[in-house]
């Protein structure tokens, strides 16, 4: 089972270490993690996606809640929340027609093209992990030179 955890923490150094250490020490998995300062700079929001049984996820939430640095821990409902990830793909342009084809694909997925050069371009897609996966599948026929993802963030 996949779960999205939204964790409001005090914006202090060392807390990311403690949260990730908790996952390791308690034998849980981190699927993705994203962190950013909130509108009130006293707090940061961490969004962690994780995989486990229902019992494990309930235990992760309780252990995170127990941490003194966490203010609020929520398990977000997939259906009722917005969850997105940003992915960047650097794609090789081999043929003259590649650019147009990639642009077409990008349009279908709502992705943006950046940094187009003679031999490569960068595609930016902000979407769900599943959509990103299928976009990745569809551009695999072109050569993906490099890629980077932010991990899921959610509200």
């Amino acid at each position: 089972m996949w779960a999205i955890l939204s964790i409001r923490v005090e914006n202090k150094p060392g807390i990311l270490f403690k949260v990730t250490h908790l996952f390791r020490a308690r034998n849980f998995n981190i699927d993705s993690i994203s962190v950013g300062v909130m509108e009130n700079p006293e707090f940061s929001k961490m969004v962690i996606t994780t995989v486990g049984t229902e019992k494990q996820i309930a235990q992760i939430v309780k252990q995170l809640d127990k941490m003194i640095d966490t203010i609020e821990v929520k398990r977000l409902d997939e259906k009722e929340s917005v969850y997105k990830e940003l992915a960047l793909f650097k794609v090789k342009l081999s043929d003259a027609s590649d650019s147009a084809e990639i642009n077409k694909l990008a349009n279908t997925f709502g992705a943006k093209i950046h940094n187009e050069q003679e031999n490569s371009l960068i595609v930016e897609l902000t979407s769900t992990p599943d959509e990103i996966k299928s976009f990745e599948e569809s551009i695999k026929s072109f050569d993906i030179l490099d890629s980077a993802r932010t991990g899921v963030t959610a509200l």
Binding site: H21, Q59, K62, I71
Partner: protein, 566 residues
Amino acid sequence: MNDKMEIMNGGKALMKALEKEGVKEVFGLPGGANLPMYDELFKSNIRHILVRHEQSAAHMADGFGRVSRKPGVCFATSGPGATNLLTGIATAQADSAPMVAVTGQVPVNMIGRDAFQESDIIGMSNPSVKYAFQPRTVEEIPEVVKKGFYIAETGRPGPVLLDIPKDVQQNEAKVTFPEEVRMPGYHPWTDVDITNIERAINLLLSSEKPIILAGGGTIISSAFAELQSIAEMLMIPVVTTFKGKGSFPENHPLSLGPIGMHGHAEANKIMTEVDCVLAIGTRFSDRSVGTFEEFERNLKIIHMDVDPAEIGKNQTAQVAVVGDVKASLRVMLKILAKKALKKSDGNNWLKHVNEVKDYWRENLKLHPGEMSAAKILRKLREVLPKESIVTTEVGQHQMWASLFFDAIHPGTFFSSTGLGTMGWGFPAAIGAKVARPDVAVVDIAGDGSFNMTENSLATSVLEDIPVIVFLINNFSLGMVAQWQRTFYDRRMIGIDLKKCPDYVKLAESYGAQGIRAQSLDELGKAIKVGLNSDVATVIDIPIDPEEDVLPFVAPGTSLKDMILPS
């Protein structure tokens, strides 16, 4: 500017903050990076108790904390001083003992440069502390001390680390001492959960074969009277975890003693028959319950605990009551009193429980020797006043203490049950004696375990903190030897300690008293000598190295698979 502000250095701010928390003693060892705070300790009214190894300082603070229920304080320098504390800190964390450990750190501008005696103790200790602070300015010190004590002693207690860089101890600044501190993410207490207490009562009253399982949380929250009242009101038998030993008088007619790997035969037998358990302040450790799946099969569990993260971690509870167990049990008692329900004391379940108990108390086969574990520990119980505090080391002697030494007076039995730290018992006994100088304190020890921190004899003698070491000496690492005999076809390796050292001479060399007891008569006399002595007494009691701890629930098996003496 606040008129309460005073100019002082960080070391003095620390001492003042500790004094405000009521600290009268600290256990520690000075070094390069904590010299400035020691200089202020010299000028303060706090007593310093010098140890010979920092691990012992942590165990002393732990023993002090468990007995007084106020955080024990230990001091160590940076680097190896701090890392030597770690085992003691982890021990306190595993057994939820309140502690504040204060370490020196290299100066702020040297942190991260692999300075001499620098260790990242904040990083290293992270999984083993309830919280850790590293104040970077003098101004922060009063606040982190206040927060540290509050965290250490509230909710589920635990160790807190204050890691103070040397320059922060030395620098002067204007400081204020807050009366209150704010921690938005820390909610140690919750309201009493009346709804679930009512559900718990219904479940308990509708069950046919109920039992109460009292864990260490019962002792931590001093719910002794509440536990006893509920047991007596409903006439429900009581078993404990090993950590819960001492939560319920073991000479009480409803007491069956500890369950678990080396639980009482009658307790383990009955535990496999019950249909409903009221579990109070326990994490259902594998050492207590055996395999998790087998334990919860056919069993309805009511789980009371102050720590919500314990609910559902190891066992699935039908009813969970989160909150301080003393407060929850009080409400439970009130509701029960209104119901005016009384189970008759002649019910079939209790009759059966008593039959099983009587059978095993009469028929459990014991080692035949005069100096068997059962006989020497029963002799200790016979001679020792009931209010005396007992600590144990870790190993066979510890499990024999669980089996054969009845804890009668509430909260008088302490052991490293979670981390299982050899060397804990003796320094913890010293810490306990500092907390309760009015009662006798005995460390039930084994030779292998006592070996690890025996240099605390120097502290005991020179600091005038007399305790008794009841040294059950089988000249070996007996528990490992037992496992090698049982599971490894007697391939004995790494367990023979020979007769080294001679513990009588060792004790004497420290200025303590050493007595060898080779008969029960000599033993009884030696205990009396120890009780009347104003120096530490080591009673060396040689026993048969082949004596096993039985009954025994082998690791990875369930309580019903208990191995009995043949």
